[in-house]
């Protein structure tokens, strides 16, 4: 009987703890969701103009309708997805154009090199 008592105690304590933790988790998820919704109603000004040009911290889920003059929303959506996908692929390859630095990578350099070489050969004065 000792074993059954132990088993019942395990069941009560175990399922109790599991339920308690998951209720807590549910409440936290609700909390985050509420913050999320509130954050959307009052969009914060984009304050991250860090050294990273444009890749960091941007909100992928909300491409802003830039230039709604002639483009249809569908087209804008399609372009946005293409750009996001491109950025993701580049990041996946750790291409330093998107990423600040990939230790040891020369990929970035080689692009600069090709651009720079043509500059050096055909010096075009910017100012």
């Amino acid at each position: 009987m000792d074993n059954i008592a132990f088993g019942l105690w395990m069941t009560v304590m175990g399922m109790g703890t599991v339920f308690l933790l998951l209720v807590l988790l549910m409440l936290m998820l609700r909390g985050i969701g509420w913050l999320d919704q509130r954050g959307k109603r009052t969009p914060p000004t984009p304050s991250h103009t860090a050294p990273t040009d444009h890749a960091a911290g941007e909100d992928f889920t909300e491409p802003e309708p830039a230039a709604p003059g002639e483009l249809t929303p569908e087209l804008i959506a399609a372009i946005s997805i293409a750009v996001i996908t491109h950025a993701r692929v580049r990041r996946g390859q750790a291409a330093p154009a998107m990423r600040q630095v990939q230790p040891g990578s020369q990929l970035f350099a080689s692009r600069w090199v090709s651009v720079g070489r043509s500059y050096q050969n055909q010096p075009w004065k910017a100012r």
Binding site: G14, I32, F60
Partner: protein, 373 residues
């Protein structure tokens, strides 16, 4: 030729035992299931191969310096391999459906009852407490959790428990439907639920794994390794800045570790230890755990149906057992069987993801209550 030389040459044949023959047949059966039925082949094929290689007479692959024993010591006895696999699972899992619908979290808890009910039954059958808890963890219906917990509490049972866990997980499409149909009415199964997709911001997706790790880690320190690695993989996935690591965890690393893990598990299936009445009992109790999990999940779903005023499809409760992501698919299949146009997969996916998290937590709680670690 001297008699000694002859004995030396025939030592392979003279060392065959009926246990080793049976175990090689079992290994062959596992490979057959993996190849012909495609039952979790990624694990059952290496396990089957490991079982055969281990039970060959005088196999140098096991024992001091044997390759399979090395793999076991390197990754199973110290629980490294299941934890590494958890990183990969986390990197592959999308918790979006759960984040969209937080109340699904509760269903994940309901699907763990089978762990403890099985534990009680195992105690009644005469297993000691550590063994009973290890057998119960089959009810977590999550491979790495079962390996992790049983590896700590009862290393000598890792073999049968892992085989049971993965075999029954492959059989989930056969095990779940009868229980689901028995416990629900046609009307309940036909309940449609509106699905309004909510935007989940990247911030939420990144905060989720961190918060879960910290909260669970503080509440149940024994669960830290399991939940920590699962959520580490998910954090890498959602951060979107370390694709190299995410990809490596979910592919190269996971593949190699899965192969080694399977072989090492197979190497624990030495005939003399495996072919005992206890193993049969474990296989039976494991199957029972799957039934009990499904039943309690559905019953909890019915409870939520009552509370929601009849708007909740109780089938979704069955997805809380984990067996990610098969269980959600089975639930959708059952719902479609009643009404072809009923689409409750997204809700089921939420419950399923919750079941994954809850299984890991339950594993940690079990370890904590057993005072081990």
């Amino acid at each position: 030729m001297s008699p000694e030389t002859l004995a030396q040459l025939l030592q392979g044949i003279t060392n065959i035992t009926w246990q080793s023959v049976v175990m090689m047949l079992i290994g062959g059966l596992l490979i057959l299931l993996a190849v012909v039925k495609e039952y979790e082949p990624l694990l059952l094929l290496p396990i089957g191969a490991g079982a055969i290689l281990t039970n060959l007479p005088l196999s140098p692959l096991v024992g001091e310096g044997g390759m399979l024993s090395i793999l076991y010591n390197v990754g199973v006895s110290n629980e490294l391999f299941p934890l590494i696999i958890f990183i990969g699972i986390g990197a592959l899992t999308d918790f979006g459906p759960l984040l969209e619908n937080p109340k699904m979290v509760l269903l994940g808890a309901a699907g763990q009852f089978g762990i403890f009910l099985t534990l009680i039954l195992a105690l009644l059958l005469g297993f000691n407490r550590s063994e009973a808890a290890s057998i119960g963890i089959i009810g977590a219906i999550d491979g790495p959790t079962s390996i992790y917990v049983s590896g700590i509490l009862a290393p000598h049972l890792v073999g049968p428990i892992t085989v049971a866990a993965y075999s029954y997980m492959a059989l989930v499409p056969l095990i779940m439907p009868p229980v689901m149909r028995l416990l629900t009415t046609k009307a309940e199964r036909s309940i449609k639920m509106p699905y309004t997709q909510r935007e989940i911001s990247q911030r939420t997706r990144i905060l989720f794994p961190i918060i879960v790790t910290v909260a669970v880690g503080i509440a149940v320190p024994f669960a830290t390794p399991l939940i920590g690695m699962l959520m580490l993989g998910n954090l890498m996935r959602e951060s979107k800045v370390v694709e190299r690591l995410t990809h490596a965890s979910a592919n190269e690393l996971a593949n190699v570790v899965t192969l080694f893990l399977g072989l090492a598990i197979g190497s624990t299936m030495k005939g003399v230890d495996f072919l005992q009445l206890g193993t049969l009992a474990i296989l039976g109790l494991g199957l029972l755990a799957f039934f009990l999990d499904t039943a309690t999940g559905v019953l909890f779903g019915k409870l939520m149906n009552v509370f929601s005023g009849g708007k909740f499809n109780p089938l979704i409760g069955a997805a809380g057992i984990s067996a990610f992501p098969m269980a959600a698919r089975v639930v959708q299949k059952e719902a479609s069987r009643e009404d072809f146009s009923n689409f409750i997969l997204m809700h089921a996916m939420g419950a399923n993801a919750a079941g994954q998290v809850a299984s890991v937590i339950a594993g940690g709680v079990l370890l904590a209550l057993m005072g081990a670690g």
